[in-house]
Symmetry: C2
Subunit: 261 residues, 2 copies
């Protein structure tokens, strides 16, 4: 797996310079990672309402002024360059995967940075809970569920979840650990039988890689920041940008700063 970086500013420099180009799971332990949604300004209000209605999957931790790509509340963060990979959508269809936003930027764009489940993974590791997809060096498995999102404007769709296999005792501890972090998806939304939330094949995630589930383990599911991405895609906006799944920005915010208690 990739080298582990520890300093968010240095890590973002590495991303900008294309010295780091892969999924960001496990990078800069202790620092909050963020998902990205970039929309034309005219859709931003409805999207903020969507985020408020769907807090567990869409916790907004930073946003830009229209046309400005900086998010100073998260550090020296530039959404044009600080994610390793981006998707560009026209009319709800993905038309490109790009390394930065220099060529596609527009002055009417607003960027939203959304709390990410990767951020609580070092709290899980601190609690002695191993994380399969980090062990495997793969991207976290993600699934589109049958759990309907709250609707706002054209934004609706179903919740996307990330999954981590663990023993029942680890799952109980994981509920305790992640409950402390409501701004990075908080407690799990489901555990055990995947069919109960509309997942027909746990070994065939909609995004990310497969995580091996060992005997005696259960899958544990958290609301995922890909949810608003899917809502944006489904809304069929003329233009939108997201990060590529698993390819987050690392902010200067320490996860401990996000702990509710």
């Amino acid at each position: 797996m990739a080298t582990i970086w520890h300093n968010p500013a240095e890590f973002r420099q590495a991303v900008r310079q294309r010295r780091f180009t892969v999924p960001t799971a496990g990078q800069c332990p202790g620092y909050t990672q963020g998902n990205l949604a970039v929309l034309p300004h005219k859709y931003a209000d409805a999207f903020l309402r969507f985020a408020r209605l769907n807090l567990k999957s869409c916790p907004v931790i930073g946003m830009t002024e229209p046309g400005n790509s900086k998010v100073p509340e998260l550090g020296d963060v530039d959404i044009k360059t600080d994610f390793p990979s981006y998707y560009v959508f026209h009319d709800g269809k993905r038309v490109a995967e790009v390394e930065n936003l220099h060529d596609v930027w527009r002055d009417d764009l607003v960027g939203f940075v959304i709390g990410c489940s990767y951020s609580f993974e070092d709290a899980l590791l601190d609690a002695g809970i191993p994380i399969r997809h980090i062990e495997q060096g793969t991207n976290v498995p993600m699934y589109i569920t049958n759990i309907a999102n709250g609707r706002a404007g054209d934004f609706a769709g179903n919740m996307v979840v990330s999954m981590r296999p663990m023993t029942p005792a680890q799952a109980i501890r994981a509920v305790q650990v992640t409950s402390r972090f409501p701004d990075v998806h908080g407690a799990p939304v489901h555990l055990g039988d995947p069919a109960l939330i509309g997942i027909s094949d746990i070994d065939a995630p909609d995004f990310g890689g497969r995580s091996l589930i060992n005997s005696g383990e259960i899958p544990v599911f958290w609301a995922c920041g890909v949810t608003p991405q899917e809502a944006i895609r489904s809304a069929g906006l003329p233009f939108a940008i997201t990060h590529a799944p698993g390819h987050m920005v690392v902010t200067d915010i320490r996860n401990s700063h996000l702990a509710a208690f």
Copy 2:
């Protein structure tokens, strides 16, 4: 099911006068219920060490002076009379079930009142989580597991757990709710597959009644105050008393007073 009482002092009067004789689940919502272990003084030190080693199953919330049956820190509680039913053991064998301890009391006895999972049930109900055995009007199902207790002196044996069926989402909420109450068994110790903790037939509890598990529900298991009872029985003490499973004392302590946060 039985009438619900609300005042602990009045409820204990009813128990003393044999106007209440059945399991105490759901009684005096908001007030802490306790299990009972009564031992000759010479075994009390080892039992306290056992309790310390096995905090989740054996949280001592009150104890008597040798020969004295009152527990003033829990209210006007008399362990001779305030449990609806008792078991008496000679040499580890149950020799009697009695209504009070008047005829079996001895001046060398020490009583321990131990936090009870019934006490967190009203917190679960407050959180909107239904409790099957209260709905059914049956005693909570309890099982002897393959989880070994820490040993102290002659006290050892395996953990006994109580079980409540719920949906996965309710189980996640239940972990959050019960984590706040470490003195009444705290978070679950297991959820899902009963075989993983040595339970071969979920429909055949070792104590209490069967709880129906509906489609889409999983069993959730908490450490149970019957654990020290079983340890006492297995230790084969010449003389010991416990409450009969499910027949607790209701104390004057509010559960909210036991909340850790």
